[in-house]
């Protein structure tokens, strides 16, 4: 193994802290009666996603320059899906760049599949979340990741149509975060809100998370995980030299810091004091927004990206809940879809390249159009079909009892005295 491969492997080993952090955040923002279920679902979803990705995901995603299916249209080759063998056959796990990509992508697919658990908290059945994760990691995620990271048509927009360097994403803002965030939106729409969240004609009921300490500790873990994710992605997918990792780490941290402070300021202005869960979402929103551009922008731009992400997340969380009436307990739609779309666009606005090509921001916009116009309908349709096969939502009795008792038979905190919950009286 080369020294760069060893360095990359070190960053990949940091990356699992990102799903660990997101799991804690999702669990803390849900109810105490569903806490064990939320953590177990996180582990199960990661397990299913890793296996599905190994079985067929990598076969669809592939690596840049590998075997792929393409067609010719409008005078150019359109590389749309990889043609690797199933079960990772023929790819030696020897520390080569391709093997490192497989390892990182197994984790990336797990993280993407984990994101919808935030929007489906307290009402999404364990089996249904695993089935959704299998579909996401086995098909939706690899398909889009191939277009961006596997030498697909989005990556070739620069070569074929003169749009900058083609669609760029160093750490997975689009492939991981937006794909996961749009799936979270699909799941929230299909499941519907928790009982008594929206009373007809009334304001949405506030159902606070049960453990702010767990949520905030999750933010620390997510930070470490994102450092690994962004650094490994920058090396493997953008060809960044090892020295550039310092810039990646600085930008990731600055984005998160600015996102947090923007959320503190925004919630202080709105509510008169900072809101812990929204501030945590601002921090993660900054991390998410950093992923696309972390290897291409100066630190001052990273600060601006994080600031806007923090404000955007706090505003969209309120917007999703109030006029749109979507119940998203973990804020997954705002944090992972909205902030990541901003991060993808920000790359086009702030990125600096030695050759200064024109049209980079347009390439990023085409990527955003693809996410909204192709990936969202695809992921919604797949989850809709799953819901037709077997209902994704738990029975009303399960919601009343809590997911822990109903699906697992025991609560996460058996020594706590259960109180009458005002949210289930209706």
């Amino acid at each position: 193994m080369t020294p760069v491969s060893v360095l990359c492997l070190f960053f990949i080993f940091l990356a699992p802290l990102a799903p660990a952090g997101i799991s804690l955040i999702n669990t803390g923002l849900g109810r105490s009666r569903s806490a064990a279920h939320a953590m177990l679902a996180s582990l199960c979803v990661i397990a299913v996603a890793a296996i599905a990705y190994a079985i067929c995901g990598f076969a669809w995603q592939g690596v840049a320059g590998g075997p792929a299916h393409s067609f010719r249209a409008a005078g150019n080759e359109w590389n749309w899906i990889a043609a690797e063998p199933l079960f990772l056959r023929g790819r030696p796990m020897d520390g080569s760049p391709a093997s490192l990509v497989i390892l990182l992508q197994m984790l990336g697919a797990g993280l993407a599949a984990l994101i919808p658990l935030g929007s489906g908290a307290d009402r999404w059945r364990l089996g249904a979340s695993c089935a959704s994760a299998a579909v996401l990691a086995g098909f939706t995620y690899p398909l889009f990741a191939h277009w961006v990271w596997g030498g697909g048509w989005l990556a070739q927009l620069g070569v074929n149509y003169g749009l900058g360097h083609g669609f760029l994403d160093a750490g997975g803002a689009s492939c991981i975060q937006t794909v996961g965030g749009l799936t979270a939106l699909s799941v929230a729409l299909i499941l519907g809100p928790r009982r008594a969240k929206f009373v007809t004609g009334g304001l949405p009921a506030a159902i606070p998370g049960h453990d702010a300490v767990v949520v905030l500790f999750g933010c620390f873990l997510a930070w470490l995980g994102w450092l690994g994710l962004n650094a490994a992605g920058a090396i493997l997918f953008t060809g960044a030299e090892p020295g550039r990792v310092v810039l990646v780490a600085a930008n990731t941290t600055l984005c998160a810091a600015a996102g947090l402070l923007a959320a503190v300021a925004t919630t202080s202005v709105r509510f008169g004091r900072p809101d812990a869960s929204l501030c945590a979402n601002g921090w993660v929103g900054g991390l998410v927004a950093s992923s696309a551009a972390c290897a291409f922008v100066p630190p001052a731009a990273a600060l601006a990206i994080g600031l806007i992400a923090g404000v955007l997340v706090t505003i969209t969380i309120a917007y999703v809940e109030m006029p749109l009436s979507i119940d998203d307990p973990g804020g997954a739609i705002s944090v992972h879809a909205a902030a990541s779309l901003w991060g993808v666009l920000a790359l086009g606005i702030f990125a600096q390249f030695p050759d200064n090509p024109s049209g980079q921001w347009l390439a990023q916009l085409v990527g955003i159009a693809t996410l909204l116009g192709f990936v969202f309908p695809l992921t919604y349709s797949l989850n809709w079909i799953l819901n037709r096969v077997a209902s994704q939502r738990v029975a009303p009795e399960g919601e009343r009892q809590g997911m822990d008792l109903y699906e697992l038979g025991a609560g996460a905190y058996p020594e706590f005295v259960t109180h009458n919950d005002e949210f289930t009286q209706l």
Partner: protein, 59 residues
């Protein structure tokens, strides 16, 4: 209404792709790609509204 929303989402994507393929200058492409994303946003709102309406009916 939901189907119409998804149709708008796909149409917006098609407009953006067609702009890149068929048009030559950056300003022309930009206008049409942004218009395509605008159509997609309308489609997204329609899908969400369709879910709201369906829920209202079931309640």
């Amino acid at each position: 209404m939901k189907l119409l929303g998804f149709l708008l989402l796909a149409s917006g994507w098609a407009i953006a792709l067609a702009a890149v393929i068929l048009l030559k200058t950056l300003p022309q492409r930009s206008v049409f790609v942004i218009a395509g994303i605008g159509v997609e946003v309308l489609g997204l709102m329609l899908v969400v509204r369709a879910h709201q309406a369906a829920r209202g009916l079931s309640e």
